[in-house]
């Protein structure tokens, strides 16, 4: 295949990958959360390995 052919194939693969991702992303976001679990959060008490302030499972000033 000519050089241009490879280029077109490469671009089409990347575009396809991106499209799949964006479609799944939009479907995931629009899908309503099932009734019973609006505000589920980490149910067990402390994720002891995450005392990094910005980590979303961070729980206050350490142990």
């Amino acid at each position: 295949m000519s050089q241009v052919g490879y280029l077109v194939l490469a671009i089409s693969i990347l575009v396809a990958l991106l499209a799949v991702f964006i479609v799944s992303f939009i479907l995931y976001v629009r899908q309503p959360v099932p009734k019973g679990c609006e505000n589920i959060k980490i149910n067990d008490e402390n994720c002891s390995s995450c005392n990094h302030k910005e980590c979303k499972f961070y729980k206050g000033e350490g142990e």
Partner: protein
């Protein structure tokens, strides 16, 4: 390689990548969720099953994808393509769980976004490509690794529940004692090394 040998090699490859060089204790992919595993066996089991599904699906998709990338002469784009595939897989798995089983979503939903940044998923898929394994062997590697990951985090969460009641020295409370236990587990698994040294991976 008649089918029987192929099947035996397949099973040996699964058991070898599950126990002998376990993904967490000997190849060091997936330490982040391993250390953060909770003391409740149920939630770590849930996370493990989600990881098993994502790893096996990812390695099934990424093998033909890499062949396609080779065809288009852009093998260097493999990491970017894999991370996009893994991210969309996690979204799709989340979508199915949200739609079909709210109860599963209740116990598993929180862990799903964590799987994209789980080193084990990209680690397995990337090392399958780097080693140039055949499709069968990369599938065996994926199954073995992910089930090994599941076993190890479930066992570790039971040990961790037990560790809470043990009177460890104050400085070792929490993570340090968990790491020392992980070291003992790694030593135990190292004993199995060389069990199937004859197989052609």
């Amino acid at each position: 390689m008649n089918p029987l040998n192929a099947f035996i090699a397949f099973i040996l490859a699964i058991v070898s990548s599950m126990l002998i060089d376990n993904v967490v204790l000997s190849r060091f992919y997936g330490i982040c969720p391993f250390l953060g595993v909770s003391k409740k066996v149920k939630s770590s089991l849930g996370m493990g099953i989600a990881v098993v599904f994502v790893i096996v699906m990812a390695s099934l998709i990424c093998y033909p994808l890499f062949e396609l990338l080779k065809l288009a002469k852009i093998e260097f784009m493999d990491t970017v393509a894999y991370i996009l595939v893994i991210a969309s897989l996690v979204q799709l798995v989340g979508l199915f769980i949200k739609k079909f089983s709210p109860s599963l979503y209740k116990s598993l939903g929180i862990y799903l976004p964590l799987i994209t940044t789980n080193c084990a998923v990209l680690g397995v898929v990337q090392s399958n490509t780097d080693q140039g394994l055949t499709f069968l062997m990369s599938l065996a590697n994926a199954i073995g690794t992910s089930v090994g990951f599941l076993i190890i985090i479930v066992v570790f969460s039971c040990i961790r529940a037990r560790l809470e009641t043990a009177n460890t020295p104050k400085a070792f409370k929490g993570l340090p004692i968990a790491l020392i236990t992980a070291a003992l587990m790694a030593l135990a698994l190292m004993g199995l090394q060389g069990l199937f040294s004859g197989i052609q991976l």
